[in-house]
Amino acid sequence: MVSTQHYLLLAAFLFCIGMFGVMVRRNALVVFMCVELMLNAANLTFLAFARQRGDSIGHASAFFVIAVAAAEAAIGLAILIAVFRSRGTLNVEEIKTMKH
């Protein structure tokens, strides 16, 4: 029997890897992928507690997280395309101003 703590530890590990990627990687696309990793870690936590409590509300939360992540990816990638068009780079260290 796998306990809830195993799932929570896996979620914590995933979240920390995602956070490390957000802080260290310089390609904005990879930073976005690491944000998706962190969202998935949150989902895993929701589902682990839903299983422990035998309660479907955690499933509804995970459902909404997935929907919001889809919206976030659409908008974020559109912004990246716009930034690449005006600056010619996706390196987050070279994108310093918000001026167009």
Partner: protein, 168 residues
């Protein structure tokens, strides 16, 4: 060792390795493929948690829709050799790694100290985690958030078109 434990370790280790590859890969394309693999293994973990409907959604929405969007953008922007010659040890990497390890340690201690009621319910009722249970919940109790999410997705579609288009 039961099948559940075995599957948990297989999927868990594969998920962790995939996530490490996402962060460590040289090119964005390798990162994206590793992320697709990570999502698939995570869907396996969700099935172990009796969340069948969410596992299907994970494969359809994440590994299907979102990652295809990522791959299209990567190919559209043709970022070949954009990120090379990274200095091996930068101060930002040190700070990032240290704070990540600190957060992981804090989380691990907190999870370890959870009250020992962490035993999973052996056999939840048969409708637990099915699309039917999820749909009943979403269409009754959470109807307003559900409609708000549909509005959010509509705004996201329009916003993506407006932002990404060169000239409207």
């Amino acid at each position: 060792m039961t099948a559940e434990v075995l599957l948990f370790w297989v999927f868990g280790v594969a998920t962790a390795v995939g996530a490490l590859l996402v962060v460590g890969a040289k090119s964005p394309m390798s990162s994206a493929i590793a992320l697709v693999a990570t999502f698939f293994f995570l869907a396996g973990i969700y099935v172990l948690l009796w969340a069948h409907a969410i596992a299907v959604l994970q494969v359809l929405v994440y590994a299907g829709a979102i990652m295809v969007l990522f791959l299209f953008v990567i190919m559209l922007l043709s970022l070949a050799e954009a990120e090379i010659s990274a200095p091996v040890m930068k101060i930002s990497r040190l700070i990032g790694g240290a704070s990540t390890l600190g957060l992981l340690a804090v989380l691990a201690v907190a999870i370890w100290r959870l009250p020992p009621q962490g035993q999973l319910i052996a056999g939840p009722q048969s409708s637990f985690g099915t699309l039917r249970a999820l749909g009943e919940l979403v269409y009754t109790t959470y109807l307003l958030p559900f409609e708000a999410v549909s509005l959010l997705l509509l705004v996201a579609i329009l916003g993506a078109v407006v932002v990404a288009k060169a000239r409207i």
